[in-house]
Structures are given as structure tokens and as C-alpha cells.
Amino acid sequence: MSFHTLMFGWEYPPVHCGGLGVACQGIVRGLLHHGARVTLVLPHDAAEEEGANILSLGNVGSDVVVVPAKIRPYDSMQSYAYRVATLGTEPVEQLYGDNLGEEVERYTAVATELTKNVQPDIVHTHDWMTLEAGVRAARSHGKPLVAHVHATELDRTEFHPNAWIMKRELQGLQKADHIIAVSGYTKNLLVREYGMPEDKITVLHNGTFNDRPLQRRIDDGTEKHPLVLFLGRLTVQKGVSYFIRAAQRVHELRPDVRFVVAGEGYLLPQLIQESFERGIADSMIFAGRVTNSEAKTLYKKASCFVMPSVSEPFGLVALEAITHGAPVVLSRQSGVSEVVHNALLVDFWDTDKMADCILTVLREKPLRSEMRSQSKRILGNLTWHRQAGKILSIYDKVILDS
């Protein structure tokens, strides 16, 4: 009776680096909440699992099949993307050598083999790394394939895609029976750049585990040094250097403001250099990788959170920021801006306006108060339970059509 989805995932907390793992967990938990059975296939080996979280999910109804492959999830992706951006036309084989490409191949082969005896009603993949495994599983079980797109190769590489990955992505998406895009922004990109038919794509925004904002210190606007926060991987995609440009403008008018850049990534040395060149090194703190609880503290302390992404399919950090009461300035080139309406929006490249938005948020307490007071309504409409319910409706429709 109960619905069974065979899901191919890549990241999963605690082994995750970006939003993909968090989203995957939210979807799995949401589906379990609705009584669905979930068999989740992950690439990490048991040693990297730190077991507890995922296994406990297994105990409440999902089976976790761990594929014995040693893939470093996001980091290798990013360093790879960086190399693509700088080296351009380097052949894939040399870039990847024996890591990412080969790991994906191994994941695909082993995952297919491992799930031979699973009897799913539907197959659900998360991003290109798991697509081929999903395609094969769907074929061998004779079940429809739903491809969930959290990010495309174009987002990750600032539109300088690796041809091999993009081809794989494209072929997988073409074979999928239906596509779930994490935003209208991503749907448009899939239609425009990948030529996917519009009616094959359903937009489903990511959700949150918090259906209401959390308690926060009182904001009376009297801090000696108001804090403006960036949190994310230090990659081209996240637009962090636009944040530094905007910070310089803010600093010119408000030297009391402190900027925190939290997160790690290959751009770090370059960003530090830039903060010196722009004369704001003394006002800018590079916090490095932060734990979840450190992130929460930063969100709570921030008078303004900025997400300047160049191309952001969703942007879960924005949801986290509003959950902790931080007023947000968001790149218009993001999916999350479609649902986080209590934000000031800017084009990522318009650093003058970005600075102006930050300065306005810092000056105007009524603006901060109003933005905060709207968060409850927004978060309440975006729980993973609700979003997973919508996934089940998508499953129903896909099965009916297949």
C-alpha cells in the first residue's frame, strides 16, 4: 500500500557541503512523514557516514544503501569548476583524471547492481551525478524517472560548462519522465539552455525544518559595530567578490560596520587580497568554515545578510538567515527570491545598489522590523512536510501519465 520511492542521492548530512545534502534530507524526511517508503542510495562509505543520522532514518522506514565508493562530495566539484574556469578547454580526462568522473561511473555501476532487488514505484534522482544510475534503475525496474534539479552545470561554472558533464546532464534529463526544478529560475534555465519542454518541469521550491522564525536578540540599532554577513562557499557562483565591492561602498559611508565572510573555498586567498586592495581588510573578517551552531550565531548577530550569487538555483542560506531574524538582501539571479518576499532584491553585478540596500537596512529599524515580521508567514508556507506532499502529487501524476 505504502508508496516506495528509490532515491539516488549524493550528499547527505552530516557528509555534505552545500544545500544539496540539506535539501535531500528535507525531502526524505518529508516523504517519510507522509508515510512513503524511501530507499536512499548514497555514495559515501560507512566510515564517512558518522552513521547515526542516516541510519536512524533507516529505522523509521527508509533503507539506506551505501555504495562503497570514495567520493569527496562538493569540494572536488568546486575545485574542478575552478579549474574549468581558469583552464577553459582542458580535456575532461585530464581534469578529472581518476577522481570525479570515475567515481560517478563507479557509483552508477554499483548503485544499479545494489538496487537490483528493490521494488520501487518510482525512481528519483538528485542532480547530474546520480542521473545515469537513476536512468538505468528506472529502465531495469520499468518505473518512471523523476529528475530533481538542485543546480545545473551552468550555475556551478558561471556559464562556462564542462562539455562532458553538460552532455551527461542533458542526456539524463532527456530520459527522465519528469523534472523537478528547485525554482522558476532553474526551470527557465532548463527550458532556455537545455531545451527541456516546459510541461515536463514542475517547480518545487526547497523547504525548511523551521516553520517559524526563531527567537532573536532585541534589535535596537545601537550596536557599536553592526554586522553584515556573507555565508556560503567561496566560489565564483556565490558572487562573494561582489559582496566585497559592495562592502567597500558601505565602508565609505559607515566605517563602523563590520563584514563577515563565512565559508571556505578556492577563492579565499584572492578575496583576502581584494579586501586589502579595497582598503577594507580591517573591517572584514574571514571566518572560514563555520559549524551549524556558529552559523546560527552569525545569522542572529547580523543586522543584514547578503546573498550576492551570480546564479543561484535556490539558495537555502537565505531561508536560514530569515529563520534567525536576519534581514536579507538577495541576488535577483536566485530561486529563493521567488519565495523569500521579505527581501530587497538586486542584480548581483549592481554593487552600488547592493551597498545602498545594505545601508538602508542598517539605517532603518522599521525596515528591519517589517522584514522580520513577515518571516513567519513565509516559512510557514515552506515546510518540508508541505513540499514533500507536493512531491507525492507529482509522483501520482507521473505514474498516471507513464
Binding site: E370, Q374, R377
Partner: protein, 439 residues
């Protein structure tokens, strides 16, 4: 005629208004701006010209035809002062077309606050000055001194009605809000409850008197919002039961909405008051919805159903000295949103900060004695600025969004708060704090 004797009359009033929208102001502009640089000249011109093409010019031409063709057809307008200013800047031909309508003698012009402001809520002195200026402008342009008052967005309460009476108006317009009607018809005249304002306030209002004498009882005309909204909001809604609405059907609805002719109010003049934004014709309801054909056919269908059209002051004349029921608006009612109160302009932190911010400058602006500065301060009072700050339904995406020139209420606030900061800054430069001298 006798077979139609039960039919009520119809009273049309159209609101004509455009605000001065703000440009993309920046923090770095503050203290650097020349006076009046807050406004987005190109955007305001573009909107004005677009709406002139789609609505004002064609609808005025149509009304002129209808008035010539139907000897009994009449309408009323309330044209905001800032709209007239924009006519002068962006489209003198639009102003001429309203003057042509005025020359027919069958169009009434109502009085309002020149700047389409919410000054009635914040400053009676400011309110009276704006009404005075508006009346003077209307009289100069259209040759008639208005005797009827309608406040911005039909914002109304007992006090506003009493102030309008003291100013010398004979009638005032209001929303026929269900909770105040309590099942009574909006189609008859009402009056506010009798009470006296404090002598000092009466005295200061008297200084701004529009007409030399005040009537003993001011009459309140109520908007029949169901029939008004059938045209203004539902006309092109394909999921609405009444779609597609023909002039014949609408006239028959009006004819059958009289109701109480033989009841307790058998001697009352019944008028269905159809109050709406003028932009309904061609802008909110585009030409391809058939709205112009509908309007063109209306006077004929009204005659066929024995329905007269009257202007607001005619409705009052007809009722003579007959007693009216009390319409007791202790709290504010308006025609906005489903709440029909002030919440469209004053229900969140942004709106409160903007409203309090702008009205708190009154003293300093007057002290500066600079007409240009006074004009800018007043342009920032236009109610639209506060409407754009509404977050009530923002998350659901709704009419506020449709009617806002800005991307969001937060963006609207960014611009407005910069303008306010600059105005503060300018005033401080003109009059450095005087307190030290006073003490």
C-alpha cells in the same frame, strides 16, 4: 414613465489621480539633491501618457459624445491636484478634454485634498489648506466651485464629515460599508451623528471656509460597492457568474436594486452611487474587454429602464429637507481592500515610519517659508506612497503588487526613506536647531 417609477437613479463619480512616483534614490544622493529631484520624471511622464492614451482621452471623448446624445446623462469627477499638475507637465490636451466636459454643464467636480493625501488623519491645518487649494484650482479651471467633498480613497469618519460641513460643503462621499449600514440600503442619503468639535478647532477650520455658510446637516452619499465593483473589478473576470456583463443586464440590476420604495423610506430619493477609479475604463479594464462598448450603451439602457443619472449635488437637491438616517462612522472607513479601513496605508512598520516621518516635518517645512519645499513635502504626502509600502497581501502577490511601480514594499521604502532623509537634511541646513536661542 409610471411603469419605471420604482427605478432608482444612478450617480456616477470617477476618481482621477496619478501620484508622483519616486526615482531610484541612493544614500549618496542625500544632502546632494536639488529640490524636486525625488521624482522619476520619465516614469511619471510615461505612465501619464500611457494612461492618457488608453483611458483619459478616449473615455473623455466617449463621455462627451454620450452627454451630447443623451440630454439627461450626467457624471461627476474628482480630479486630484497632483493629477492636474501632471496634466500641465505631461499632457495639456488631457486637461482640455476635461474642460470640454465641464463646458457641457452636466459634469460635476468634487473637492478633495490637492495632494490626494491622508492629511485628514494627521493634521487638520494641513488638510484644510490642501482642500482650499484644490477648490481654488478646480474653480479656476472648470468655472465651478465644488459644493461636494470626497476625501482621499473615500477615507471617512464622523469627524471628517463634520470638518467638511464646517468648511461649507453640502455633501460628502463615503464607502457603503456593510458593518456600518447594518443591513440598510446604501442607495439613500445618510447624515453623520450630531456633535460639536472643540471651539478652537472650529475656529481654525473657519479660517479656511470654502463657502460662506455651513448647512445644518451635511449629507453622506454612500458607494454601492457591489454594483460599482461589478464594473470596476469584475467586468472582465471570466470566472464571474455575471460575465460577460452587458449594459442591458447592468441597467436591469440597477433598476431592481431600489427595493425600499414602498417601505419606510418611500419619500427618499433612491440613487445607486457608482464610485470608481476613472482608470477602470481602458486601463484596469482594457479596451479589448469591451468596457468602452459597455459604457457607450449604458445611458441608452438606463433610459430604457427609466433610470435617471444624477450628480452628487443633484441627489442632495432631490432629497430636499427629508430626514435622513444616521451613518455612524466612529472609526475610519475607506474604499480600499476588503477591510475597507485605513489598513491599506497604515498597518505595518514601514507605513507607520513613513507617515509619522513625513507629518513630523510639518512645523519645520512651514518655518522654512519656501513654497517649493512645501510643494515637495506635500507631494510626499500622496497616499499612494504609503499604499506601495503595504505588506498585507504582499506574499500572496495581489492588487497592491499590480498597482505598485516598485518591485516590492521594501524597495518602495528604500526610496521613500531616502527622500525623507534628504528632506530632513535640507530642513536642518535651512534652520539649524533653534532651541538654544529659545531657552
Amino acid at each position: 414613465m409610471s411603469k419605471h417609477s420604482h427605478a432608482p437613479a444612478v450617480c456616477f463619480y470617477f476618481q482621477v489621480h496619478q501620484p508622483y512616483r519616486l526615482r531610484d534614490l541612493r544614500v549618496t544622493d542625500i544632502g546632494q539633491l536639488k529640490q524636486g529631484e525625488y521624482f522619476d520624471l520619465e516614469k511619471n511622464r510615461a505612465v501619464f501618457q500611457k494612461v492618457a492614451e488608453k483611458c483619459y482621452l478616449p473615455t473623455n471623448a466617449l463621455l462627451l459624445d454620450l452627454i451630447k446624445a443623451h440630454p439627461d446623462f450626467r457624471v461627476a469627477f474628482s480630479i486630484s491636484g497632483v493629477f492636474i499638475d501632471q496634466c500641465r507637465e505631461y499632457g495639456p490636451n488631457v486637461l482640455k478634454s476635461f474642460q470640454a466636459l465641464a463646458e457641457t454643464g452636466r459634469v460635476e467636480f468634487l473637492a478633495e485634498t490637492y495632494y490626494h493625501s491622508l492629511s485628514a488623519i494627521f493634521s487638520w491645518g494641513e488638510f484644510c489648506e490642501q482642500v482650499e487649494r484644490h477648490v481654488k484650482t478646480i474653480e479656476e479651471l472648470f468655472g465651478i466651485r465644488p459644493t461636494m467633498f470626497r476625501n482621499t480613497e473615500l477615507v471617512y469618519n464622523n469627524e471628517i464629515a463634520e470638518v467638511a460641513r464646517l468648511l461649507g460643503f453640502r455633501g460628502i462621499l463615503a464607502e457603503g460599508a456593510d458593518h456600518l449600514l447594518g443591513g440598510r440600503s446604501p442607495n439613500v442619503l445618510y447624515r453623520p451623528p450630531k456633535f460639536r468639535l472643540p471651539p478652537a478647532m472650529r475656529k481654525s477650520i473657519a479660517r479656511h471656509r470654502i463657502h460662506p455658510t455651513s448647512v445644518a446637516t451635511i449629507k453622506t452619499l454612500l458607494k454601492n460597492y457591489r454594483l460599482s465593483d461589478d464594473i470596476a473589478f469584475r467586468f472582465s473576470n471570466k470566472t464571474w457568474r455575471g460575465y460577460p456583463l452587458t449594459a442591458d443586464t447592468f441597467a436591469s440590476w440597477v433598476a431592481s436594486s431600489g427595493g425600499q420604495r414602498h417601505g419606510g423610506r418611500d419619500r427618499q430619493c433612491q440613487s445607486v452611487n457608482l464610485f470608481m477609479d476613472y482608470e477602470t475604463f481602458g486601463e484596469h479594464q482594457w479596451a479589448d474587454t469591451g468596457i468602452f462598448e459597455f459604457l457607450r450603451a449604458l445611458p441608452g439602457e438606463f433610459s430604457r429602464h427609466g433610470i435617471e443619472t444624477l450628480t452628487p449635488s443633484q441627489v442632495i437637491q432631490r432629497s430636499g429637507r427629508r430626514p435622513c438616517d444616521v451613518f455612524d462612522a466612529h472609526a475610519v472607513v475607506s474604499w480600499a481592500d476588503t477591510e475597507r479601513d485605513l489598513s491599506a496605508w497604515r498597518s505595518n512598520h514601514l507605513q507607520e515610519a513613513a507617515l509619522v516621518g513625513i507629518y513630523s516635518l510639518e512645523h519645520a517645512v512651514r518655518a522654512a517659508e519656501d513654497p517649493a519645499l512645501l510643494d515637495i513635502w506635500r507631494k510626499l504626502q500622496t497616499s499612494d506612497h504609503f499604499y506601495y509600502l503595504s505588506t498585507k497581501y504582499w506574499n500572496d502577490g495581489d492588487v497592491h503588487k499590480y498597482f505598485s511601480p516598485y518591485e516590492s514594499p521594501y524597495e518602495a521604502y528604500r526610496r521613500y526613506s531616502h527622500a525623507l532623509e534628504d528632506l530632513r537634511c535640507t530642513l536642518e541646513k535651512l534652520a539649524p536647531p533653534l532651541k538654544a536661542h529659545n531657552s
